[in-house]
Amino acid sequence: MNAIPKLQQSDFPLLFELGAPGLSALNLSPCDVPRADRAKAMPRELLAEAPPPLPEVGELDLVRHYTRLAHRCFSIDENFYPLGSCTMKYNPRINERVAAMPGFAGLHPHQDESDVQGLLELLYRLRCDLAEISGLAEVTLQPAAGAHGEMTGLMIINAYHRSRGQRRSKVLAPDSAHGTNPATCAVCGQQALTVKSRKDGRIDLDDLRTKMDDDVAALMITNPNTVGVFDAQIADVAEILHEKGAQLYLDGANMNAILGITRPGDFGVDVMHFNTHKTFSTPHGGGGPGAGPVAVAEHLRPFLPVPQVVRRADGSFGWDADRPKSIGKVRSFFGQIGVLVRAYVYIRSNGCDGLRDISEKAVLNANYLAAKLRHRYRTPFPPPYAHEFIMMPEFPGSDVTDLDVAKRLIDHGIHPPTMSFPIAHCLMIEPSETESKATLDRFVAAMLDIADEVERDPQIVRDAPHTMPVKRMDEVGAARKPVVRWRAGG
């Protein structure tokens, strides 16, 4: 490809192309103590000759830069975002307001427990609320995200097996499992094995039985699963595992479909993680932060990470590190506290009645979309669905792909659904409960419109999007010669 035309480059500059030497948007008070003698206080070999070459930009230009960048992204606040498995629901502003209160945001992790009683009580209540929602015995709030929760959960399971004198090297997961499940097995030094799914999306119990042996530590399952169906055999799955002493791990990414309706602990799960950034609406922030609290059954409590937030006999709250069988720490300090505060506010704002309503409406919205689109897009699995469903953009005689349809949705102001997961060329659609019927109807109209376009004018679809500041990216070229940083002089 040719060099990038200059004019187009300057259309949208990089930070490093703005400003001028000597500029800074920082405005500190002048230093009010004497200057320390650097030569005396620091070996010459360790002192920098010049400051690092960060960009030098004035305040207004910085404001414009980041404001314009903000306008170049889709977000929940501006767009319908039916990204399956990700639960892109509205992020209530009250959660932000509470998390930003100095009484939460301004605390240092080494402050005495007596200085942070309000926060510890909040965390303790959240821990108990999550245990109640999961139907399990106890929750750790420490893990940083879903995948980190998976790792924590698997470590707990392994510690449990070891406490019984066993080292089990295999972990099973259905073929529809999210990539983090097998990747987590590797982080824990275990082998990930696949269990087949049946045509109807449910796990193949016969295949599970043949793969079970005394070396299986756990099965990681998502339920409702990633094709959007609740696997009614889940109690049988649990039994098959438990007979061999293995544990049932639930990937809780899809909890939005079952809040207050059924509880993992009640259907045989031993360990699960929550994704607060999905189910409890803490904002995704362009890729995080999340939080991945882990809930465990009674027999696994001794292995939870330390420290644990507890209520002491005198009614005060504190951190308990006295768990000799604990797996230890999985991250520094105590967890994604600011995220957990938001999740708490969300759970308590909604309450038991609101939580149930969330799942009912999430499921209603998904099934409504499926019903309205089924005549034009094949839905490989039978309804009713949970909070998401799979749809196949197939156009016999045309080379328009799922990717093209997804990209064309962008021109309708709609973020594309998840693509090609868990089966090739599918779209995974999760509207979430917070969308209005009008928005759902607009989505239906857009999808039908695109199906018409494929017949009428497929090139429009293949070239989409047309309304964005850039066209489709050369991702292959990007990976072949990766440029992951800017350098002076190109």
Partner: protein
């Protein structure tokens, strides 16, 4: 209900379109025996004013930085956060976007993360950086995994003055992933340089020293270390590398405003806690881990990487790249299991670094250095108080007192000052704990004023 928008009329229409009678019918796949037949034992939902009142009451029972002068450090610092950071990074489009999988509809976050990666390289002196990890300790664990894969060896040496949480997390990861964590002892607050070569040669796969192969994949040092001391990276890094191990350096990103960056001193992988870069203390999280390394390890990196590329019409643009390293493609052969990272915190850090710029980062580092040295000198002049270590420091140092440290710290607390962290309490298992009796760690950022420092000194004097 609270955040749903369907009227009874809507629900009726929608059920009709689906062809079922009730919402209940949509849950028919869940066996009745597995259903919850009562309400969750969580109070009913509350109104916005009620929720705010409840949350405010909880917040009021915490003593935050608006009420106290914070001299606490140890991985979380009360730096000044310019107003631009909240105004720009927390814009709703950044706040409520997902991971930028769809490049065309995510150029804003993608470019901002590309710029973040670049600025992390500029601060650390390294060639490439990723778009963030969870926090400092897990970033160190991920760096170890790079080193294990790069060297084919199975052990890491961790200096015992590395942040205690980082050491704990490494132990947890090591036990499960199957790598051994050994301790590199320290002397007088810094890595015991003379002991290092011997240790590196002793740690071999076999007991017979003549036939054994070296087994240390990486040595992790932190500079400034947990006690605030600046390590002689210029001498330590070559020692590590001469044993064929990778030098992983954990650092405070703001230290490079004054000190040579770990990259300039030859580090292989630089990781750290990004909290000093415009992230509120928030009782320990969410923060962001950063990781930077040399080009040769790029394909071993964990997590998201943003690359610069062109669109179909030749326009400059950005996309997630080298995704074949990641879990959604490679599954059990991925470089890490990380998926969601700390995007919004990377955004904050980007705005912070851009706000400071080259001059600003030097100014912040310089003020931290001057104020910390002023504080240290004044505290050391109080009878019964002395600096524990003679090693050079940046913004943090250890004080030892003759009196009972917890009494001294509570006396300061009563006067509205968080004077420091008692070290024996924080890391009681450490071999260093006995030596750290009545020691506390004090940090002084650019945000502390001379008056606050003088008040701290007075409080210590009368404690």
């Amino acid at each position: 209900m609270r955040y749903t928008q369907l009227t009874d009329e809507h629900v009726k229409d929608m059920l009709g379109a689906i062809g079922v009678r009730t919402i209940e019918d949509l849950f028919s796949t869940i066996p009745t025996g597995l259903r919850l037949k009562r309400d969750l034992a969580i109070p009913k939902g509350v109104s916005e004013p009620q929720m705010l009142a409840d949350a405010s009451a909880l917040a009021a029972r915490n003593a935050d930085g608006t009420k106290l002068a914070c001299f606490l450090g140890g991985g979380s610092y009360d730096h000044f956060i310019p107003g631009l950071v909240d105004a720009l990074a927390m814009q709703s489009e950044f706040l409520t976007a997902y991971t930028p999988y769809q490049a065309e509809a995510s150029q804003g976050t993608l470019q901002a993360f590309f710029e973040f990666q670049t600025m992390i390289c500029q601060l650390t002196g390294m060639e490439v950086a990723n778009a963030s990890l969870y926090e400092g300790a897990t970033a160190a664990a991920e760096a170890v995994i790079i080193a294990l894969n790069a060297t084919g060896r199975s052990r890491v040496l961790v200096a015992d003055n590395v942040h205690p949480d980082t050491r704990r997390v490494l132990t947890t990861y090591g036990e499960h992933r199957g790598f051994e964590v050994s301790t590199l002892p320290c002397k007088d607050g810094v890595v015991h340089e003379n002991g290092l070569p011997r240790l590196l040669s002793e740690l071999r796969t076999s007991v017979r020293a003549d036939s054994a192969v070296p087994d240390v994949a990486a040595v992790i040092v932190q500079s400034p270390n947990f006690y605030g001391c600046v390590e002689r990276l210029d001498r330590i890094i070559p020692l590590i590398q001469s044993a064929g191990a990778l030098a992983i350096v954990a650092t405070d990103p703001l230290a490079s405003g004054l000190l040579k960056s770990p990259g300039a001193l030859g580090a292989d992988i630089v990781v750290g806690e990004g909290q000093p870069l415009g992230v509120p203390m928030q009782y320990g999280g969410p923060y962001l881990g950063f990781m930077a390394t040399r080009e040769e390890h790029l394909r071993r990196m964990p997590g998201r990487l943003v690359g610069m590329t062109k669109d179909r019409e030749g326009r400059r643009g950005f996309c997630l790249t080298l995704q074949t390293r990641e879990q959604h493609i490679k599954r059990e052969r991925a470089t890490s299991n990380i998926c969601t990272n700390q995007g919004l915190l990377a955004m904050r850090a980007a705005v912070y670094m851009a706000t400071l710029g080259k001059r600003g980062v030097a100014e912040v580092a310089s003020q931290c250095f001057d104020k910390a040295h002023y504080a240290a000198e004044r505290i050391a002049s109080v009878p019964g108080f002395r600096l524990k270590f003679a090693a050079p420091f940046f913004k943090e140092f250890v004080v030892q007192c003759d009196k009972d440290v917890s009494k001294v710290l509570s006396a300061c607390r009563e006067k509205g000052m968080l004077a420091g962290t008692a070290l024996n309490r924080l890391d009681p298992q450490s071999p260093a704990a006995a030596d750290l009796k009545n020691c506390f760690l004090t940090a002084v950022t650019e945000k502390r004023t001379k008056d606050e420092i003088d008040a701290l000194v007075d409080a210590l004097r009368t404690a």
